[in-house]
């Protein structure tokens, strides 16, 4: 399954509700993300960005369409082709707008738990979690509870957790919305670095136009339709 694509979606469609309340949140989204590629997804609020991201993240069943991850067919229409939770555990890293750390675990334990559910030993997971926190510059906060960390520090711990299992893809939904522009840019650059170093496919939903130069390509979403953006081409030629 040595495929050049990290993510391939084909005709991905999501319809919420039915009858009068029917909302078509995503229409025939077809996107390919290469290994080691970082893409940005822009678009106004309500255009379907989160719907796309959660569908690819296997936590939101599409109404129609296919999803392949690392060349493997994972989802075909509303039916799953495998145990999605086990697949998520091994192959997908999430980062969200709110850091979504488990409040009763310390920073390092939040990273450790992601490793332990993949059968890492206690000692090995602790070591790896520590080196990840170190890599993200929050090693000194390892034993602090999430509530005592700043927004930026929380977000970095969340990134460390997303990276822990060396996933094939990382999905980030407005990860910098809670950060100042400087920190926001740092996180974006980090995604770029990760993708290029580890061959991870990264999709980042963002509103931040100033950091677009970090991305390999930019997609825009409107009324549930995705298309490649001019801005992306511009930034690539820059």
């Amino acid at each position: 399954m040595d495929n050049e694509f990290a993510i391939e979606t084909e005709g991905l469609t999501k319809i919420y509700g039915s009858g009068n309340t029917e909302v078509v949140a995503m229409r025939a989204a077809t996107v390919n993300v290469c290994r080691g590629e970082v893409i940005a997804l822009l678009g106004p609020s309500g255009s379907g960005k989160s719907t796309f991201l959660t569908a690819v993240g296997l936590i939101n069943t599409p109404t129609a369409g296919r999803i392949r991850i690392g060349g493997e067919l994972v989802v075909d229409g509303p039916k799953a082709h495998m145990d999605l939770r086990a697949f998520r555990r091994r192959h997908i890293g999430f980062v969200f707008q709110k850091s979504n750390l488990i409040p009763f675990l310390s920073a390092i334990e939040n990273v450790q738990i992601a490793l332990e559910i993949n059968n890492w030993s206690k000692a090995a997971s602790r070591k790896r979690a520590m080196s990840l926190l170190d890599y993200l510059g929050v090693a000194d906060r390892a034993n602090h509870s999430p509530s005592t960390l700043s927004g930026g520090q929380q977000q970095r711990v969340a990134v460390a957790r997303a990276l822990a299992n060396q996933p094939s893809i990382i999905l980030a939904d407005e990860p910098t919305a809670a950060l100042d522009s400087h920190l926001g840019r740092q996180v974006m650059e980090l995604f770029g670095k990760l993708a290029h170093e580890n061959g991870t496919g990264v999709v980042v939903v963002t509103h931040d136009q100033r950091s677009l130069d970090v991305f390999d390509s930019v997609y825009e979403m409107e009324d549930g339709m995705i298309r490649r953006s001019e801005i992306g081409i511009l930034s690539q030629t820059k």
Partner: protein, 404 residues
């Protein structure tokens, strides 16, 4: 990493408070069971302690513990003549209520058959058995009468010479042991004026009758205490206690007494049953029902607490599902917390109960069986109520980690 423990550590204060609350609730359930046992034990304590094989009581009555039973004291001698009877003792029993230091004191008066029974077999914690046939008493600790205390009952003062432990009547009053004669004096104590009037009346009746004119000595006796004038009326006692010759059966000896038309006879087992089904029956059932109700309520409250504990964690559970944690990890967390709450609550109930229950006015008896039964109930409640939480947790979509 144990998520259950981590979560508890993070919310230690809240978990501790909840556990103490559950502990207190379980302590009440435990105590109610102990009170129930205590009532049964206390009810049959006197019967068990005096160790008679058969009880002879007034015809068609259920014996002195259930109602008033009066039989003539000379029945002891008739009983002794029956084959298979080893000893026959007088038994007097009645409850009195007096004042002491402005507070009511209830005493269950027991008459011991002097001189065969001086109370040697009682569970003494201080003092000695009776040494005189008058004016001495052995009191249970529950009565709060110190050794050497002189207490006026009726016309006489009685000295406390011995203290027993856990000798309690079926209604929870402390027992006090006297000689039969003293016990009767206390029971039939009549105010001075009434006695005087009665004596005059007796004298008048006696001296007016032919009988009294022919036997002037009889009218002299009219001035004696009621319990001391057998010629005018035999002493009335409550019951006769029989112990049988080893080798004979209770049934066989009882069948002889059953043929006597002036008394009823009960074996010790029957007397116990009568007590449990008689005077303590309603109290026993009342407490028994209350105990069942309390257990059910405790179960509901525990279930609610555990369910709320899980509800509060739904967001975290969704997050765990999102990062791919398997169900067994999530269910383990819920179940372990439920069990921990149950076990810790039970422990608190036991430890606190052991300190508080002895201060209760009536005995609270925690038997091994009852404790074990409650432990099993708590365990079952813990598991069942976490099932509610687990059912909810399994339905949480990982999506929900992103909302709110």
């Amino acid at each position: 990493m144990n998520l259950a423990i981590k979560d508890i550590r993070h919310n230690l204060g809240r978990f501790a408070l909840t556990t103490v609350g559950v502990g207190m609730l379980l302590m009440i359930v435990m105590g109610m069971g102990g009170i129930y046992r205590g009532i049964i034990e206390d009810a049959t304590l006197l019967i068990d302690e005096v160790g008679a094989d058969l009880w002879i009581v007034q015809r068609n009555t259920r014996g002195p513990f259930a109602e008033v039973s009066r039989i003539p004291a000379n029945l002891v001698h008739r009983a002794l003549a029956v084959p298979g009877v080893q000893t026959a003792r007088e038994f007097v029993y009645h409850t009195i209520q007096r004042e002491r230091d402005g507070k009511p004191i209830r005493i269950a008066v027991v008459g011991l058959s002097w001189p065969t029974d001086k109370g040697e077999t009682l569970p003494f914690v201080a003092g000695r058995p009776l040494a005189l046939n008058h004016f001495e008493m052995i009191a249970d600790r529950r009565l709060g009468l110190p050794l050497g205390e002189r207490i006026r009952l009726g016309k006489e003062k009685y000295t406390v010479v011995g203290i027993t432990e856990n000798m309690i009547s079926s209604s929870g009053d402390g027992l006090a042991f006297f000689t039969v004669a003293d016990a009767l004096d206390i029971q039939f104590d009549i105010p001075g004026e009434a006695v005087r009037l009665e004596r005059e009346a007796r004298f008048a009746r006696g001296s007016l009758s032919d009988y009294g004119r022919k036997q002037p000595a009889l009218t002299d006796s009219a001035y004696l205490l009621p319990s001391q004038i057998p010629a005018l009326g035999p002493r009335q006692i409550s019951a006769v206690m029989i112990s049988i010759v080893p080798g004979t059966t209770q049934r066989a000896v009882a069948s002889i007494f059953a043929g006597w038309s002036d008394v009823s006879v009960y074996t010790v087992g029957e007397q116990r049953d009568l007590l449990l089904r008689g005077p303590v029956e309603k109290v026993r059932r009342q407490i028994g029902l209350f105990r069942v109700l309390l257990t059910i309520i405790a179960a509901i409250i525990m279930a609610l607490i555990l369910y709320t504990l899980t509800l509060d964690k739904l967001h975290d559970i969704a997050l765990l599902k999102l990062i791919g944690a398997p169900n067994r990890k999530i269910l383990g967390m819920i179940l372990q917390q439920a069990l921990l709450l149950g076990v810790a609550g039970y422990g608190i109930a036991y430890v606190v109960g052991m300190r508080i229950f002895p201060r209760f006015p009536r005995r609270v008896i925690l038997t091994k069986d009852d404790l074990l039964q409650l432990a099993v109930i708590v365990l079952v409640i813990s598991v069942l109520s976490s099932v509610l939480g687990i059912w909810k947790a399994l339905r949480v979509e990982p999506n929900e980690a992103l909302s709110g």
